[in-house]
């Protein structure tokens, strides 16, 4: 299955479940309609990626997702020449494909990428909406159904890394947070198959664990880990074992912190 196939499917695929908790769907649709780039800010695992999948499917557009990292360069986004059969062949990167074919390009944790990606982001986020491909000599104009979405986690910035104001000020931006309890309960129940009441208890537990953030924990517990926990419980694992493996061990290596977290587990599930 090639990337193209997946992307095309993606445009017609079943819409991934997403429970709106504010005006985020309207904001995304407005930004899409006005051809403005969008920046999603929020903690790990609060649903940003899921939200983008949901909106892409809802708009019937293919989605090209890129997890950014320290070594991601502009060429990883735009494409490069590969040598094959003594011939060089140009292979489009995910951003170029989104511009050429139309669709949504999602740069997850964009601050992690190397600085040369600004050279492709800036003209794309201008009123010009251009993507220059220096290596092929092309200058692509983004179609109306191209949209650039980026995300980053404001609570986890590297000392040496941040989004330059000249880049930031090119985006419409929104802050995400963990969903409100009832929404999160429904998400966990739906993803894990665990009954709703037990999911509600897990969500309550998450709230008390999240309250410990900043003191001993770098990040609050993600909805994803709650789903993991509920999945293991549903599969028959003892609650305490499941909670330790999904809500405690992934958050901290410190024995005292782990004990504190397990006490909260104990208080909830006895």
């Amino acid at each position: 299955m090639t990337l193209s196939t997946v992307a095309a499917q993606s445009a017609d695929q079943e819409i991934p479940y997403y429970d709106s908790v504010g005006n985020e769907c309207a904001m995304f649709e407005h930004a899409y309609a006005q051809r403005l780039p969008l920046l999603l800010k929020g903690p790990t695992g609060c649903g940003k990626t899921r939200f983008v999948s949901h909106m892409a499917a809802k708009l019937g557009k293919p989605l090209f997702t890129v997890s950014c990292h320290d070594d991601l360069t502009a060429a990883d986004l735009t494409g490069r020449y590969l040598l094959q059969g003594g011939e060089t062949r140009w292979v489009d990167g995910p951003l170029t494909r989104a511009v050429r074919e139309g669709g949504i390009c999602y740069l997850d944790e964009v601050v992690e990428a190397r600085k040369d990606v600004t050279v492709v982001l800036h003209p794309l986020t201008d009123d010009r909406r251009l993507l220059p491909l220096e290596r092929t000599g092309e200058l692509l104009e983004a179609p109306d159904d191209f949209m650039l979405v980026a995300s980053y986690n404001p609570g986890y910035q590297h000392i040496l890394k941040s989004l330059k104001p000249s880049t930031r000020q090119r985006f419409v931006a929104m802050t995400f947070d963990f969903p409100p309890p009832k929404v999160e309960r429904d998400i966990v129940a739906r993803e894990s198959g665990l009954e709703s009441e037990r999911c509600a208890a897990l969500v309550n537990l998450a709230a008390s664990l999240r309250a410990m953030k900043g003191q001993d924990l770098e990040e609050g517990i993600s909805t994803r880990l709650l789903v993991y926990c509920a999945t293991l419980i549903q599969a028959g694992m003892p609650i305490r074992d499941a909670a330790r493996a999904t809500l405690v061990e992934p958050l901290s290596d410190d024995a005292d912190v782990q004990e504190g977290l397990m006490e909260a587990v104990q208080a909830t599930f006895g």
Copy 2:
């Protein structure tokens, strides 16, 4: 559409709207006529790029824009050999094209580029106006209608990055700032389609937000973000939502600072 085509169109294109606020157009024309390189200094989104587009169109010259970044090298500007069909083919970079074909080469945020760009900038900013292409063995003499323009943001200098005096002193320089209120109001109205009076309110709001710069904000709000805000309002989004997404979230991740900014929004729009 190739880069050449775009550039040629650019020379005949409709002149992008730009409202002069001082002697900047005269200065640009003098520098162009006397074949002197020009350095534009000023904050993010105050209109430097638009100004250059405007002048290039007004002079009827193609414009080659390069967003500089940490990894931009001299070869990115001058060109390189690409391997195709077992043969190497030289592909001109944007600076070389501007020198060969005539036109304006604009290096946006030039301090970001790597230091080896000085090797091409220095002989081009001499009275010699030469571009040596070591790899091809050529030494191009810039035609009379070639002009080099560079920009940088003095308020956002990297610790390890600045323009060396030996490079700086090769440019005629100008400082840009945000346009005066009436000009900015007209720009916002024109770009967004929002009625002039409501744009004036946005411009007033921008002035109070910009006054917070240096205390909590790294940069004042750009004209571009005002246009984004007006666009979303014009598209039917509630003013507070539009303002939060375009004037607050892109400027800061700090909850207290965001609250301060939203209070200013509240004070303006009730």
Copy 3:
């Protein structure tokens, strides 16, 4: 013997000996069944690698092990083009093979790897379970019998290296420690052939040496070194010589610390 052959054998091979000390086997089986990635935390040489071999054989799945290091990149995991006979040929890396063929991919000391591995780990640890191969244009969907296991040593973190919360929170996690005395005695006896009673004395010695950790020793003595020691004794080497070469010299270069360790050896074996 090629990697493929080994891996296929591996799926049918004799199950490596592993003595469970808690719920770790159940946890691994649940994670495998629920298609959740697993993170093993624990000190050097406490049996993590052996545990993974054991489980892979028990589940009848091939095992692909990668020792991560400072220079390990995403391409080392996914594969690369090699030039052969004037043609480029794609060669799958170990992670790609595990995804394509089914099986367990074990990333030992994952924090050591370069940051671009996140780009392949994140979509694989989503509910999507996808492996994008940008270079070949493929997007592989992991089969149900693919499992990702990673390990790291929380007591030996580099200042500049840690697992980002956005990566960590994608794993079910477990802490490993050295096995309890009777289990460790049986392991040492089985691996070295030394009689059980003498192995018990070595295990007691290990406990007193491990108690010195944190003061003068960076790490406690591993079960592996106990096996080395018992092996040399069984082969006829004097106990003191074997203990010095396996329990003292590998742990410290400091003469005073070595003397302290030898005193403990002396106290145990006279």
Copy 4:
């Protein structure tokens, strides 16, 4: 037009105007006659490059100028193999050409270059005067009419960069400074076409601006910027505007410093 053509022209070209202010012409001629390498020290824009052009033309020798930078390597000076038509072809760098064809090679701001240039400079500045080309297996002996000239700016040394004594002590050296007022006035008048009296006023202004160096300014104003200023005035630009754009903005971004500079402009031109 190729580099060769230019260089050959250069040997017969009109002699660039240069007004000697001391014994520098005699020193250059002696160094050339005795085949000694020459080092020019002095601030930005004081005429070092012009002086070298003048002397090269006067001696009827081609001139090969290299602006050194952080990434300049020995190969940039000596040459490299390029792949063309399936064959590698050696292309001489500027230093090799000067050695092969005879002529003057001028390394501008030599301290900026990478350290491997010493490998080519040392044998060339010996009594051996040899240029080894390891890649081609050649060992070129410099002809009598080859001369090596280098420059650097002692007032603008990088912390991590300086000329090693073992390199420095291979050059005859001279210090340059801005020309005396009457000479500078003539230079400015000649280059700009502005009448001599007004140029004298500019030169006086430069003297007072240069006196501010070290306090607020990294470098004194260059003769080049005086020529820029006179050129714009001669082209009809108001004096204050021309002075601001050429004598104030290129020197500082600090509002207070700019005001101080403008006061000096005011005091001179009213």
Copy 5:
């Protein structure tokens, strides 16, 4: 003569002279018989390399020695593809050859190597004894007559370099020191041809020079330098000159330290 030829000879060659000073030969033989990797710790020039040559010859096994350094990578040990005649051909590195052909691979100063060598050392030092060659797709199983030996100098560790516990704890380890006086005398006499009595005086001198270590000297004088000294004396050089050139100048550049060393020479030889 190719590497293969040499190595094969090496297996049958005359056994290099080595005078055992403890149980090191027994330890090496035990480690070889039990297929355990061995780590030799000790100062520069105390005989570690000679010891390994001696043992390899005694066991009749070829020896593959690698001097590790800052830039040594896993590929330097395992091998790489070379382009020849338009075809790529795999060339085994020294470690791969030792695994394929059987023999001893000796990594001298292993801490100097880059971190990616752990990827090949870890599976080789497991009970698996495997060498994965990712590039060729091979997974080599080490034969019974393969042995890995590594060395490092604990007195000369880099701040940024040390052997990770997870690597260290995979080796049986031994500390080496300079040989006792009578043994060292015999070594020096044998290697230099100088009469035994004069060698004894040199060995006495070495003892007093080694006592200065830690105060002014980074390392004690090596047996190798004693052999150099005796060789020059035997060749007719005056004792003081030979001692200065071999026992003083190689140890220190400090005039005071050199004087102190020469006084010790004077005291011994008058």
Copy 6:
């Protein structure tokens, strides 16, 4: 003229003038005869390179000189494959040529080279005298007429660079200093053609300038610069001008230090 030709000539060439000031010639001959590597220590321009040329010619051996630098790697010494006509061809580096053909390889300022050169120096400075060429699969044995000579300047060590004891202790070493006055006078007279008496005055001046070292000067003045000075005087340049350009400007950029140096010039020549 190729490197081979030059080197062959070098073996028969006229012996470069060198005036022995101690036992250095005897030491070099002994080291050559005993096949020991030699390390020359001493300040810039004191005659180390000339001495090596002299000895090479006297022994009738070709000389291969390499100026080491920050980027010099083992491959620069041993050789590399070059692509030519679709075929790769191995080209020996200078060290390999000296080993293959016999002769003296001189590594000037060896501490500057990168650390991977140790991999070729260590086996060559063993009693084995081997040069492994991993890339070609060769293991060259050095012939009896191969000699390795290295130099460095103890007064100018980089903080991050020094010769490791394990490398240093492989060389016989000698310290060089500037020649005694009468010898230096003769050298200067011979090289410059200036009459002996005036050279003696220059040598006296050098002595007083060298006495300032350590206070304001990084290095004492070299014999080379004295020759430059005498050459310019002999060519008719005024003494003060020649002295300033050769004895003052190359040593310091500091105005006060230069004045101090010029006072010493004044005191000598009036």
